[in-house]
């Protein structure tokens, strides 16, 4: 089992969600996050006082997937989140040792 984590532009969330639904993915977790990559932040000015804002708002999408599905999930996220402009984000895959469905106690791939 793998955990696919994607950091994407907030306005791309809907596209990514629809792309994942089309793959029959059973669930996803979304959080609002902030940070910086190559895009960096921006500057704001209030009555002449200039501030740098180092972190830009992003959305983090997390999806648990069976090993066999991982490539399709990653490809779908990348295709849906891409705008070809700086700041599109990243997707990474990590291995997951175990998963438990709390209601039933099912474990491993059965819990996905």
């Amino acid at each position: 089992m793998k955990l696919v984590t994607a950091i994407i532009k907030p306005f791309k969330l809907d596209d990514v969600k629809e792309a994942l639904k089309a793959l029959d993915i059973q669930g996803m977790t979304v959080s609002e996050v902030q940070g910086f990559g190559r895009q960096r932040g921006h500057t704001e000015v209030y009555r002449g006082a200039e501030y740098t804002v180092d972190f830009v708002p992003k959305v983090r999408v997390e999806v648990l997937a069976d090993d066999a599905d991982v490539t399709r999930v990653v490809d779908a996220v990348v295709a849906a989140a891409r705008t070809d402009k700086i700041g599109d984000g990243k997707v990474w895959v990590t291995s997951v040792e175990n998963v438990v469905r709390i209601r039933t106690g099912e474990m491993g791939p059965d819990a996905l």
């Binding site: 704001e44 000015v45 209030y46 501030y51």
Partner: protein, 427 residues
């Protein structure tokens, strides 16, 4: 007694009262979210304390007949003010100069009460994020009686020495804006700068609130300036359109300089410029005509933007630019009145430099500005020192870091979710 005039001044009293919540939101949007209730409270509290003090002694000290410098206690506790036949001292017809009020004294007293409420509230913008509520409350009451009432007497009462000298102030350029502006600077000097200023970011938490407050201020200002005609006729109309044009031109002036200097026209700049224009037209509103309000507002907008940079140069933390906008804007308006005053607009005024009056009015305006700066500056500094040494004017460093809302008022402005961590005590 004229019922039309009375109706307009009653309406204006309500308009001016509404400016204080407007000011609270104008300032409240500019502070960080941990201090917004503290800021709103400092302003709202003035509606409570100052109104009561005005009825007890403030009105009497400002409009009683005690000579040129201060009133007396004849009207303390509003004694006799409700008498329909009462003529306030100095408001009489002498020769061609008719100052007799056509509205009841009690209406005039109510209208002036709202000016007393908002004037010290202006100071709160300079001392944002760090003032102890008990210290502010004490300073507010003392300042109203010791500083505001005498200056209102000098300038607004026909028995006051600056009024008699011939200095003009239609609605409070000296009494309200210069007075509060210099007081703000003095309290800031006593208080010191906020922890981390100017290095740490202290951006406004909600500019939409600031713009909403600006709209309320602009709306209420029609009562402030056009109401000061104390009549519902041509002069009130002239004052109203002057007020509006100065606000509009102030916005344009600020935005133009801002765009050229900083690269962007900002919403905070639009709000600040409008307020700067409103401040500058306040002393002039019923004494100028033609395109003068546009010139006055435009100059105020541009110059006030440049003036707010002084705090970084001289290192005083005038947090929300009360000095840069109200003190500087008030001085600009009071001095420009010496140039633009036109007796064809208001026969009770005098002609300025541009209208054949020579430099006499300009001299009187400079005297009025100087007297207000010295009197209010010195007394405000002393009062702030006294309050600081006794009750304390500033919160502890820990409380400052945590914010005024929880430490001074035990409240949070925005309870967004997170009720899971809250439990009722004692239920």
């Amino acid at each position: 007694m004229d019922t039309g005039n009375t109706a307009w001044v009653l309406t204006s009293a309500a308009l001016v009262l509404f400016m204080t919540p407007g000011l609270a939101f104008f300032y409240g949007g500019m502070v960080r979210s941990k201090n917004v209730l503290g800021m709103l409270m400092q302003n709202f509290f003035s509606m409570g304390l100052v109104s009561v003090l005005w009825a007890l002694v403030g009105f009497s000290l400002a409009f009683g007949d005690g000579g040129g410098f201060i009133g007396n206690f004849d009207f303390a506790g509003l004694k006799g003010v409700g008498d329909a036949a009462l003529q306030l001292p100095g408001y009489v017809k002498v020769g061609d100069v008719d100052l007799a009020l056509t509205i009841p004294a009690i209406v005039f007293c109510a209208y002036q009460m709202m000016f007393a409420v908002i004037t010290p509230a202006l100071i709160t913008g300079a001392i944002a994020d760090r003032v102890k509520f008990a210290g502010w409350a004490t300073f507010l009451g003392l300042w109203l009686v010791i500083v505001y009432s005498p200056i209102a007497h000098w300038v607004f009462s026909p028995t006051g020495w600056l009024f008699k000298r011939g200095a003009l102030d239609f609605a409070g350029g000296t009494v309200v804006h210069i007075n509060a502006g210099i007081a703000a600077l003095m309290v800031v000097i006593v208080l010191g700068k906020r922890k981390g200023w100017p290095r740490e970011a202290m951006p406004p938490h909600s500019l939409p609130l600031t713009l909403l407050g600006t709209g309320i201020l602009w709306f209420g200002w029609f009562g402030f300036n056009a109401g000061s005609a104390l009549s519902a006729g041509n002069l009130a109309g002239q004052a109203l359109i002057n007020t509006h044009l100065a606000a509009a031109a102030g916005m344009l002036g600020w935005l133009l300089v801002e765009k050229l200097k900083e690269g962007h026209a900002t919403t905070l700049g639009a709000a600040s410029g409008a307020v700067a224009g409103l401040v500058a037209i306040t002393p002039c509103a019923g004494f100028v005509g033609g395109m003068a309000p546009i010139v006055i507002g435009f100059i105020a907008g541009g110059v006030c933007l440049l003036a707010i940079q002084f705090k970084f140069k001289f290192g005083y933390d005038d947090s929300l630019d009360v000095v840069g906008v109200h003190l500087v804007g008030g001085i600009i308006g009071s001095i420009l009145l010496g140039f633009f005053a036109d007796t064809s607009v208001n026969s009770l005024g005098f002609d300025g430099v541009f209208f054949g009056g020579g430099g006499e009015l300009l001299t009187d305006q400079l005297v009025a500005v100087g007297a207000t700066l010295v009197f209010s500056g010195v007394l405000s500094f002393v009062l702030a020192k006294v309050v600081d040494a006794t009750i304390g004017l500033r919160v502890s460093p820990d409380d400052e870091a945590a914010g005024l809302d929880t430490t001074q008022h035990a409240e949070t402005a925005y309870n967004l979710g997170d009720f899971g961590s809250m439990g009722r005590i004692g239920a």
